[in-house]
């Protein structure tokens, strides 16, 4: 509870990162190099989304930080502790919800969550376990053996296990893959609550909307390399395209030929013209467009701009970069 009063000003830009990864590489026994010289710093208290296509190395990276996979090269500090030398101090700070749904079968929800807390070296605290189970809508199921639960419920149990020891750093590996809307909403509520208490959250995803919806910062990983790390808003501003929607006074049947240079799109109902422009460009071309519209005799009643989604940014990045 006391963490609720964690003073926010502490999270300044000058703070040292809660996770510092330097020159991390991983070559599996098969000879496959899954990670190639990763350098990455995660700031205290942020929600960091690691975004990348399947097979990019997201799970490998998380598994190494958590101690499940051994690194081939490089060092990782978690809250200042080297994860191999001072693994006790490092790991007791970390909670992990892995990608795969793996739970005990015969134990009850209560027993398995309490077990996790003990495993991470914390004395029993029934009040804390109760709070977690209530937050995750698992309270009614606390005495049910896990094997009797649905897939969604099992995933809730895995989240509860990861939170049982009050970690300061939480990893969520593809948390919403195959998850229903309700769980997704509950999960984001829990994640926001944790962030408000100062917990750092790192989630991996290949759904861009998820990164867009939740993250403070986004790292893009592809083929074992981090190709970009940016503040979400800056990223979208920097790389994003904007759309200008012109709401017309009168219906158009076709785009006037004198406007061809602007690559406009006409909506199906003929009442909207959409102009796409790059915010990075020297000039947006909006002024020119507006005067061209006037001289073509097109009148409009309103203008709207919308930011392009991360999806488009990402596609651009992977296509152009690396």
């Amino acid at each position: 509870m006391q963490a609720r009063f964690w003073p926010f000003p502490l999270q300044s830009a000058t703070m040292q990162p809660i996770i510092a990864i330097s020159n991390l590489s991983k070559t599996y026994a098969s000879g496959f190099q899954a990670l190639k010289g990763i350098d990455l710093a995660i700031n205290t208290g942020e929600i960091f989304a690691l975004l990348g296509p399947n097979g990019a190395g997201k799970t490998t990276l998380i598994s190494i930080i958590c101690g499940i996979v051994s690194p081939s090269e490089g060092t990782i500090l978690a809250d200042g502790h080297d994860i191999t030398v001072e693994y006790r101090a490092a790991r007791s700070k970390i909670g992990l919800v892995p990608q795969e749904l793996t739970t005990d079968a015969f134990e009850t929800v209560w027993a398995t969550v309490s077990f996790s807390r003990g495993l991470f070296g914390k004395p029993a605290d029934p009040a804390h376990i109760e709070k977690i189970l209530r937050d995750l809508s698992l309270w009614d199921k606390r005495n049910s053996p896990i094997r009797t639960l649905s897939g969604g419920m099992k995933r809730r149990v895995m989240i509860a296990k990861a939170l049982s020891h009050e970690p300061q750093i939480l990893f969520l590996d593809e948390p919403t893959a195959g998850v229903d809307v309700e769980l997704r909403r509950d999960m984001w509520d829990v994640v926001r609550g944790l962030r408000d208490r100062g917990v750092t959250i790192i989630l991996t995803t290949h759904y861009i909307e998820e990164a867009e919806e939740m993250a403070d910062r986004i790292g893009v990983i592809d083929k074992g390399r981090i190709i970009l790390v940016e503040d979400k808003h800056e990223l979208m501003q920097k790389l994003g395209q904007k759309r200008l929607t012109v709401l017309l006074q009168q219906k158009l049947n076709h785009i006037p030929p004198e406007l061809a240079a602007y690559n406009l799109e006409l909506s199906a109902d003929g009442l909207e013209l959409v102009y796409t422009y790059d915010t990075q460009g020297e000039r947006t071309g909006i002024t020119d467009l507006l005067s061209a519209l006037r001289s073509a005799g097109v009148t409009f009643k309103d203008l709207q701009t919308t930011q392009s989604s991360l999806e488009e940014i990402f596609v651009n990045l992977v296509r152009n970069g690396a």
């Binding site: 499940i68 693994y87 970390i94 793996t102 079968a105 495993l119 991470f120 070296g121 914390k122």
Partner: protein, 253 residues
């Protein structure tokens, strides 16, 4: 030391035994009782005494050892194999817990179960044959040392096994023959000289012999050698376990 972790795993494992009571306690008791009836009562009445001990009583220490060994191996191997199989091992690997603590808790729980089982079988034996225990302290020491050693062996097998066949094959192909050929039902002095020499390479011979000595004060091999052999085997298993955790063998990729 992460005592909370050790206690959690130990409790978890003991709860599992309780849940599978039939399999972990009742089944071995029933099968051992059958041995007593067949070998002790039916056949034993036609056998002569061995070293001044009636045959029915003579086989009791061997039978306890037989259950102790097989149960220790199967308990411990299953306990660590199962999380590997289901994937829940991720939690163990990501927890702030040292290899030693993992071994202490899993092997401790498996050995506890086997010792309890050994004592239950001993109590059962009392129902069938008159028994005396000359060195109860040594008897308990042998019981505990053997349970720990073979739980360690089981732990190693559980980590090594990458399928249920292997998990069951080793106990079937190695442990059971070693126990049957280890003098559970006879004194190895009854074997032809050549096979006596061969038997001396069987670690189980020393366990059964030493354990039997703690009951009747007679043994095939000197009791100090027996204790020494158990300890050598224990250290050997500890060495392998240490190596496993150092290299992450079959645990981490």
């Amino acid at each position: 030391m992460n005592y909370y972790a050790i206690r959690s795993i130990y409790k978890f494992e003991m709860a599992r035994a309780w849940r599978t009571l039939l399999q972990s306690i009742i089944a071995p008791v029933i099968s051992t009782s059958l041995y007593f009836i067949v070998f002790g009562a039916a056949i034993g009445s036609h056998m002569q005494e061995i070293d001044g001990v009636s045959y029915g009583a003579f086989i009791v220490p061997g039978l306890i050892m037989l259950s102790l060994l097989t149960q220790s191996v199967s308990n411990a191997s299953f306990a660590i194999y199962f999380p590997k199989f289901t994937g829940t091992i991720y939690e163990l690997l990501s927890a702030p817990i040292s290899p030693l603590e993992i071994v202490v808790s899993y092997v401790g729980a498996a050995a506890t179960k086997s010792v309890i089982l050994g004592l239950i079988i001993l109590a059962t034996a009392y129902l069938f044959v008159p028994l005396r225990i000359e060195h109860p302290g040594w008897m308990v020491l042998f019981l505990i040392l053997t349970a720990i050693t073979f739980s360690l062996l089981g732990f190693i097998i559980g980590i090594w096994a990458d399928g249920f066949e292997k998990l069951q094959l080793v106990p079937l192909l190695v442990v059971t023959p070693l126990t049957f050929l280890g003098g559970s039902f006879y004194s190895i002095t009854m074997l032809p000289p050549f096979w006596q020499t061969v038997a001396l390479f069987n670690p189980v011979v020393y366990l059964v012999s030493g354990f039997r000595w703690s009951f009747f004060g007679v043994s095939d091999v000197d009791v100090t050698i027996s204790v020494g052999m158990v300890i050598v085997f224990l250290i050997l298993c500890l060495g392998v376990v240490t190596w496993i955790f150092k290299t992450g063998y079959r645990l981490k990729s």
